[in-house]
Amino acid sequence: MTQIVMSGNSAQSYAALLARVQVIAAYPITPQTTIVEKLAEFVANGRLAAQYLQVESEHSALQSVVSASALGARTYTATSSQGLLLMHEVLHWASGLRVPVVMGVVNRAVAPPWSIGADHADTIAQRDTGWIQFYAESNQEVLDTVLEAYRIAEDPAVRLPAMVTEDAFYLSHTVEPVDVPSAETVDAFLPAREVRAILVPGVPARLGSFTGPIEYVGFRRDVARAMERVLPTLAAVEEDYARRTGRDHGGPLPTYRTEDADAVLLTMGTATTTARAVIDALREEGHRVGLAKLRVFRPFPVEAVRALAASVDRIGVLDRSFTFGPTGAAAMEVRSALYDASPRPLVSDFVAGIGGRDITPEAITRMFALLEGPEPPELTWIDLAAPEASADG
């Protein structure tokens, strides 16, 4: 193990290097670019023996790794925002063909208006494509999760594509010390992909095909079943990873100070770190508050949310995107998971930090004030106003 000070984007590249990916394809988009630049360097200087495909679009980037994966190669691609939207059609192909493609996504706002700021709308808009979705809080978590994602995606019980996301700039371009496991450690944890190729040269068979309704429903159900096996697989994979590296990121919904909490805030990505500090401060003042980090959005950890709800009265959800449903996407999932819960906690949704707006400690303090107040609203856009001018301003 060595410690390297690196960005979230470098953590993606180092993870792909350690995973010994065999085919990489990418098209540039801010803030993803440094991921694929670093990988190009690794390939150019001989550290990584991969085929690096210079493609003319994200649609082609994903298509080429999907096709490569169908022949048995371990593949990697990365994108963000508009690029991910352009991939939408092929995202469905990846899960439907059951290819274990792993992709890094830098969460960025979608246009118009153009914005390169952090926002989860790009990946939330892909929640129905049959991909496993991880949201990372730190650069360390990015690196570890990409490695775990390969193990889970390639597990014969799963065989689904996975995306590991990181917030634009807060992680993608911010450096922090990251423990990089040795090649031996990773090789033992993640051996070469067992070539259980779906498409075999010389063997007449068809992958994709077309069907009538009877077979079609079976294929959809198979993907649904594979999704159901993701969280148990994650548990086993994380345990193994922890044994080898000493690091465990706590499953799909790790919690903080929730034991005796009355009100809990559920966060995704980098807002979690800020929320943790706010919770410590509020605890000092006597508030019984806690935190749950939604690390896996697909499959949605329904059981974990129900277990959390069993002991708390109020759940606040921080949605770092708004995709034009009645509330933010995470809040809808939480509400749906809790419909049958008894007693059923109150759920209050906070839309914050979209388009790269900072989620400040003050903003999170305000969320808790609303959540603990007499009537927590169903939905609050927390930071519509421009930040207040400074006292002397």
Partner: protein
């Protein structure tokens, strides 16, 4: 007696779902005779999606991957990358797509595949319209042809625009090998497919593929119509290898275009003036090919329209 050179092996199986007289079905049959059983095909949405028959059956004796309509070029780049990364021996990587999936919605991925010099063969079978979806016009539909979206009647005279020059577009990318193929000339067809297989680098085959229901003719006429397409100069047969264009069916004179047009209902509405205009177009296209054949290189109006010998990174596949 003439000895046939066409391999007897059949890689298109009986029971496929093509219409009677289907040009694309014939094209696949001859293509795979030239390419052999270690072909990996990637295929977008097109008539062949259906012809290959539904899950869990397949009409093809080779490995087949379906892909979205616009991404065939990218798919074969990925397949080739995997074959190289995994060192799978003796594989011929082939994209097989319709004219709409190639010259229109798939043009970007085709261009990308050619430009990044993917070691694979891209085949465009040209039935000159979106046939799977019911005979809508594509960029490859010829001028004057009736389709369901270029109706005849009132102001409608069939497709007003000219056919997209896919070979011109492809040759501007300097593939190592490009050729036109016509199933009505099966020996030439199989020879070109087999030749393409032995060359490494980006290769492109433009395959003429008559469609009885789409072109409005009786299914037993496919071969004759195909022969007329070449012998009237509508679809000249040539190949471009190592930067040299060579006609592979030389004609002492062109048959009048009326012999070709007159066989197809999609052209039934054309007036003598309209036919004369199409005749002039075909003649000038043919003369250009003759000049290119004589000079040995595809010059044409665009100097970029030339192919190069294998560039850096291209090696002979068989080696």
């Amino acid at each position: 007696m003439v000895k046939l050179t066409i391999p007897a092996t059949e890689l298109v199986r009986p029971g496929h779902a093509a219409c009677p007289g289907c040009g694309p079905a014939l094209a696949m049959r001859l293509l795979l005779k030239g390419l052999g059983p270690r072909t990996v095909l990637s295929m977008p949405a097109c008539c062949w999606t259906v012809i290959a028959t539904p899950y869990p059956t397949t009409a093809l004796g080779v490995a087949l991957l379906d892909n979205p309509i616009e991404s065939t070029g990218a798919s074969i780049s990925g397949i080739r990358a995997a074959v190289d990364a995994l060192a799978i021996p003796d594989v011929t990587v082939v994209g097989f797509a319709g004219d709409g999936g190639t010259a229109d919605i798939g043009l970007q991925a085709l261009s990308g595949m050619l430009e990044r010099r993917t070691n694979a063969i891209y085949v465009m079978y040209d039935n000159e319209a979106y046939m799977n979806t019911g005979i809508q016009r594509s960029g490859a539909t010829p001028e004057g042809a009736w389709t369901t979206t270029t109706p005849v009647g009132g102001a409608g005279r069939g497709k007003p625009e000219r056919k997209k020059d896919i070979m011109g577009i492809v040759l501007a990318h300097r593939p190592v090998y490009a050729a036109t193929l016509n199933p009505s000339f099966p020996e030439d067809f199989v020879r070109k497919a087999a030749k393409a297989r032995e060359i490494a680098g980006p290769r492109f085959l433009h395959v003429f593929a008559p469609c009885p229901p789409g072109w409005r003719y009786s299914s037993e006429e496919t071969i004759e119509i195909g022969r007329l397409a070449t012998d009237t100069g509508v679809f000249p047969l040539y190949e471009v290898a190592d930067g040299h264009l060579r006609l592979t069916r030389r004609l002492s004179s062109l048959k009048p275009i009326g012999e070709y047009l007159g066989r197809q209902g999609r052209y039934a509405h054309l007036t003598p003036e309209e036919r004369a205009r199409l005749q002039a177009e075909v003649r000038s296209g043919w003369e250009r090919i003759l000049r290119e054949d004589a000079s040995g290189s595809p010059g044409g109006p665009f100097s970029s329209r030339s192919s190069h010998a294998a560039t850096k990174g291209d090696t002979v596949e068989a080696a």
